[in-house]
């Protein structure tokens, strides 16, 4: 079921075009990852959806009979740190904004701040503030959740627990719209990827579709050779070189390994992996798909 429709959204600041004819349908019970380079317009798109800034043209439609703010939860990139207010008070205040809020105890459990409910928000650590922000985003028991860089500031355990909670929310029927620079986290959880590039949605599909389009496999090795030595191999889709570490995206690993045979003496630590979102995106940038 479609919960949100984005129709022909354009946004310009003066003569600078930020978004160009963005069209999307967001289905319920799914996790949608919005990815792209810094400055690609991800936050602008989210801000337009959330009515924080006006679009130059186009329409945003939440397909609900209720006030869209009653069914929306938002976790912004920057934490809310209200002075002279306790954890208990901000949770209670946020609950009061909504018609059908989650219970106080449930939100306190999500925040993981059961032992800090009488602490001032200013006294919380970065990770605790992030978890509290997540609980506040869920206060209204939203149908659609917007998460902008949600795991920044969380340690690895907290990040793991966070994504487990997101998966649980998806299974309970929630729609999650997320942006993150931790691409490996998105790779494991998102059902649908939107790549924002050159002001448009350059790719809209699953990770599987992205791999079949951009390369299934990733061959990694260390070598003192130059990038140019491998660039003309037939099965190379793209090469990423960091120091002496090569990452080659290919659709045919066996053929590529055969092609690499003459160089094997100059190659160490050869590994074959499934291509990652990180490398696929890099490939996308280099190829400048339009």
């Amino acid at each position: 079921m479609t919960i949100l429709e984005i129709q022909h959204i354009n946004k310009s600041f003066g003569k600078k075009v930020i978004l160009k004819d963005i069209n999307l349908q967001i289905e319920s019970s799914s996790i949608i990852a919005l990815v792209g380079a810094n400055g690609a317009g991800k936050t602008t798109l989210i801000n337009i959806i959330l009515n924080l800034i006006p679009q130059t043209s186009g329409q945003i439609k939440f397909l609900t009979n209720e006030n869209w703010k009653q069914i929306t939860g938002v976790m912004m990139q920057d934490n809310i740190v209200l002075h002279r207010i306790t954890v208990k008070e901000i949770i209670s205040l946020t609950r009061s904004y909504f018609d059908k809020p989650l219970s106080y105890e449930e939100l306190l459990n999500i925040s993981g701040l059961n032992n800090h409910q009488n602490n001032l928000m200013t006294g919380l650590s970065g990770g605790q503030r992030r978890r509290l922000a997540f609980a506040l985003a869920l206060a209204g028991n939203p149908e659609i959740l917007f998460l902008d860089e949600p795991t920044v500031g969380m340690d690895s355990n907290a990040r793991n627990e966070f994504w487990q909670e997101i998966d649980r929310l998806k299974k309970s029927g929630k729609t999650i719209f997320v942006t993150s620079h931790y691409l490996e986290e998105l790779e494991n959880i998102a059902d649908r990827f939107l790549i924002l590039q050159n002001s448009t949605i350059a790719f809209d599909g699953t990770i599987k579709q992205l791999r079949s389009r951009e390369g299934q496999s990733l061959v990694e090795f260390d070598s003192e050779l130059n990038q140019i030595d491998f660039e003309n191999l037939a099965n190379v889709i793209s090469i990423n070189l960091i120091g002496h570490h090569f990452q080659i995206i290919t659709n045919d690993v066996n053929q590529l390994i055969t092609e690499l045979t003459p160089y094997l003496k100059a190659i160490d630590n050869l590994q074959v992996k499934q291509s990652t979102l990180d490398t696929l995106l890099l490939n996308y940038k280099e190829n400048n798909h339009e």
Partner: protein, 253 residues
């Protein structure tokens, strides 16, 4: 309604109850000025004149207290809300702007009410000023209405969005406005051209209305129209600046 009441309760806690130093100085400053200019810095003044001065200066300091609460507290609180991302949080929540600003106005108006009562109590004790309950009620009511205009000025200043600029603007507005309006010193000791400017200021016109109430003289429509025109102008500027900031995406920063 529940969310409005809760928001107001939280605002009371964070702006007043848990901000004691600020609350104390917000109330104390006008009281100190009142005592200074009616008890300490007055000499060789005829008793009959002093009696009127003590009453008039009470009105001036009541308005000055409204300026501190209405302009400085509003601008600083809204700035704090912006810096702590609370403003953005509210914009994304089902709480309307009207409820957000309305709940804050209730807190600030109450703060000014407490200031006015404290000032009157000090005037009664220190200078034996006598004002009937009815007159006092009228005075406070008019001042609280005037506070709404001052809150609008505070909101406008908060749109500067940077702590240094907001501090500079509050100082540039509040103190010159207090002096020009004759709240600190009698307006007639200033040069005529400055008096002419001062008499256009909303706080001067508010003091004219107050003094007419206090001395039970006839009210004229002029001061009320002046306040309405100022409110309209400030509201128009507020609306325009807000629209421009939203257009430029500044509200999310």
């Amino acid at each position: 309604m529940n969310k409005f009441i809760f928001q107001t309760k939280i605002n009371f806690k964070r702006i007043v109850l848990r901000n004691k130093a600020f609350f104390f100085f917000d109330m104390l400053l006008p009281i100190v000025f009142y005592i200074l200019y009616t008890k300490i810095l007055v000499s060789n003044v005829p008793v009959s004149y002093l009696k009127v001065w003590n009453k008039d200066y009470l009105v001036s300091m009541m308005i000055y207290a409204c300026m501190l609460g209405g302009i400085i507290t509003t601008a600083n609180t809204l700035l704090e809300d912006q810096m702590s991302n609370f403003k953005l949080f509210v914009m994304l929540s089902p709480l309307s702007n009207f409820q957000y600003y309305g709940s804050m106005s209730i807190v600030l108006i109450t703060l000014n009410l407490v200031s006015s009562i404290a000032l009157t109590t000090v005037a009664m004790i220190v200078n034996h000023v006598s004002i009937s309950i009815g007159l006092l009620f009228e005075l406070i009511s008019i001042n609280l209405l005037g506070t709404i205009l001052l809150i609008l000025i505070g909101v406008l200043i908060s749109f500067a969005r940077k702590p240094n600029t907001v501090n500079l603007l509050t100082n540039l507005v509040v103190f010159p406005l207090a002096i020009l309006s004759g709240l600190w010193w009698p307006i007639n000791i200033m040069p005529t051209w400055l008096q002419n400017i001062g008499k256009v200021m909303p706080t001067y016109q508010l003091s004219v209305i107050d003094k007419n109430i206090l001395h039970q003289t006839t009210q004229h429509i002029g001061p009320f129209i002046n306040l309405l025109i100022w409110s309209f102008i400030i509201f128009l500027i507020l609306f325009t600046v807000n629209k421009i900031q939203k257009e430029k995406g500044l509200v999310t920063q």
